[in-house]
Symmetry: C2
Subunit: 490 residues, 2 copies
Amino acid sequence: MELHAGNRGRLVAALRAHLSASGRPLHGIVLLKGGEEQTLYCTDRVPLFRQESYFAYLFGVREPGFYGAVDIASGQSMLFAPRLTLDDAVWNGEKDLSFFKDRYKVDYVFYVDELAQVLLSQFSEHGEPLLFLLYGKNTDSGNYSKPASFEGIEKFDTDLSTLHPILTECRVIKSDMELAFIQYANDVSSKAHIEVMRQIKPGMKESQLESIFIHHASMHEGCRHCSYTCICATGQNSSTLHYGHAGAPNDQTLNDGDMALMDMGAEYNFYGSDITCSYPINGKFKRNQTIIYNAVLRAHNDVISHMQPGVKWIDMHKLAEQRILESLKKENIIHGDIGDMMNQRLGAVFMPHGLGHLLGIDTHDPGGYPEGLERPEEPGLRSLRTIRELKEGMVITVEPGCYFIGALLRHAKDDPSSSKFFNWEKIEMYKSFGGIRIESNLYVTAQGCKNLTNCPRETWEIEAVMAGAPWPSRGDCSSATTTENGLPKA
Amino acid sequence: MELHAGNRGRLVAALRAHLSASGRPLHGIVLLKGGEEQTLYCTDRVPLFRQESYFAYLFGVREPGFYGAVDIASGQSMLFAPRLTLDDAVWNGEKDLSFFKDRYKVDYVFYVDELAQVLLSQFSEHGEPLLFLLYGKNTDSGNYSKPASFEGIEKFDTDLSTLHPILTECRVIKSDMELAFIQYANDVSSKAHIEVMRQIKPGMKESQLESIFIHHASMHEGCRHCSYTCICATGQNSSTLHYGHAGAPNDQTLNDGDMALMDMGAEYNFYGSDITCSYPINGKFKRNQTIIYNAVLRAHNDVISHMQPGVKWIDMHKLAEQRILESLKKENIIHGDIGDMMNQRLGAVFMPHGLGHLLGIDTHDPGGYPEGLERPEEPGLRSLRTIRELKEGMVITVEPGCYFIGALLRHAKDDPSSSKFFNWEKIEMYKSFGGIRIESNLYVTAQGCKNLTNCPRETWEIEAVMAGAPWPSRGDCSSATTTENGLPKA
């Protein structure tokens, strides 16, 4: 709960600085509404509740139906809990206000039905009653957060524009305690990935790999949620970027000789991880697998070597594209001038997604496009969830990939200005290859970055671990084994 | 897919019979809209999609965004798939209409944007265009299903009242193929429960029991979903009926000497199971645990012995209450006349939930209160999700329980008309006992019922299995080991 108190503290400081700078009085109350439990369609089936992320950031409350407030003048925090009926006590358990005060370490806890009265009383000495509500666009989904509403809100002035960008920016820069949770989620997920790597064999089902991962994270490490639906794609399935969804539920049998692309991350106390490992199902890289794998690994490592505050993320994306194109050219899969290819946005045929995204309480953490920063429109670049300059304290994924996606290749073939770059005979040989992605989670430091993920990345490391060699080769499974530039120590 | 074709066949037959009986023409089209993928709050996080249950029943489609239609005159079936963009192909995979036609074995597949045109063309020879849409109340949640809507719907007459009760009634009576899936889900869950039973020991976390169950069902049996959030309640937690939710996330450490109440069920191809086992964490029943356990087991077994078509479910509920009260009286936990207790609804203090509910594609399958059947208002009885007469082909849970719930006991103590029945000194001894529930899934046959669940139920069986004895003692883990009356063979 110290973590969430720290988050509130940073928000209050940032809001005060903003209000000061605009010559506004340092008063008002931040009010957020937590998530509500949802039933599925018309039934009474209730999927496991997961708190709304901004609310989780500030209050860490795991129950549905709460409101939370922070007084800007005093910094004091308040929670408002739903008033429980006798039926609620029987079905969901008895909890009184002191339980919540104790658990969530806030200054006061009241009932939701006391909201208007309690908030009004806060303003008796502090001028006009003013509420800062959360309203703003999530630039990944295009959806807007819903500002809190309650009976009696008409007695307050409300400010809908100030809070969202400031709170979002607080979330972009991780505190040490937040980092510790993301590191823990990374440690858990790195270990769980290695567990899958060790158990995988031809004849299994993709869903069993998902099961091994989830079980490891929940059985041994206390992670009840994953950050997202597990992508356990083998063979050609790995060219479907979000394979694993309900329509493609990791249900293929594993073929000897195919590659596996495993994109899975556990979540702990709301904070997530997002890790992808790619490796051969039978534990031995074939030549063409090594070629594509190393093309992606070189992009992954080069990006990490260049990361530091001030570096523009769009440049890192282009760097990754360029490294991949260079490798493909070297193998005569494509030909021509790399600069021309870059101008033609050829990289987007092989890597149609963005290089990486902010990571935190949301897998795609908000703040990628603050006011004034426009999303690019070109193929590949438009998939970037951020194009910001890196700042110390950001956590961002680095996840270059190289895929042979039928729909995109056909599209490229139909366009003479891109078609000319391809060696279509070679491409044909890769048509059922699928794709490879390598994804690590990086923390931006003052001088560079720190890799929070610790999975074997070199082909020989992967082959050794799959054959039973210990990992990590020394020390624990945390970032201690990474260099200042964020790459695993050789 | 044969199962879903069978479901459509039964619906068409039932609709035709209904239309005939009302002297209406046997024409029109049943149109349902499948579920849509939902994002979480304002983010782009997409929880794993689960199809809407009525749509799953008729079409078995696992993807979001579909419509499905059945022509009443011809019995022909149509699916309407969302038209995919190039981006959809890249992120979610390429699938054309023939893929869906092949997979879902319907007569035609079109795109959603062709809906109005295709449906209108069906009516060129069959009179006025009439759509039967699904609109009606789910009596567990109180929510209404949303009738399908689409661009151009104003060109059709729509009937909102006919379909829902008829389709719901189809779902109440299970076909042999539906039964086979529910049996499979029961087999998986029975085995997974036994796995948990064998691994449980003091010092573990409740969440680890959840993890063992889920892993067993998904790793070895292909069940990706559970029917509901796992309830892994130990000690006093077991008196919270829906323990395990986000606010009480199975996070207690297991104490030697406490009981465990494990309510968990796997789902397979939409069809679910709902099973509860109660047993001592350390594998040995203490005297007071045996007393309460056997009180519940006697209720469970007596109800099952009485089940057959024509029996009223509310009478079964009362029978269970009576058996539990009798056992508690025998132990001097309560005293007085059992009839007086029943009139006072004393059973609801110890078992505030209903005896059981219909089970199928929904854990709480619909149809519990068809038109004309009113929910009772008395404590305990009002929690019943159905009070219907049993019919051959129903699948229903039998889940008596006996709990020592602080809030209800205080309530009962404050009321002299109920307080007099309690031996409060004895009750005090049970105040941190928690509760016990035993839950099996029963299929109503022509002469009785068949128990689909196969878990050890007698205290000695449980102790033996927990000590490592094989289970089931003979044959496989299916209903083959139950007698005609649905009880496990001794």
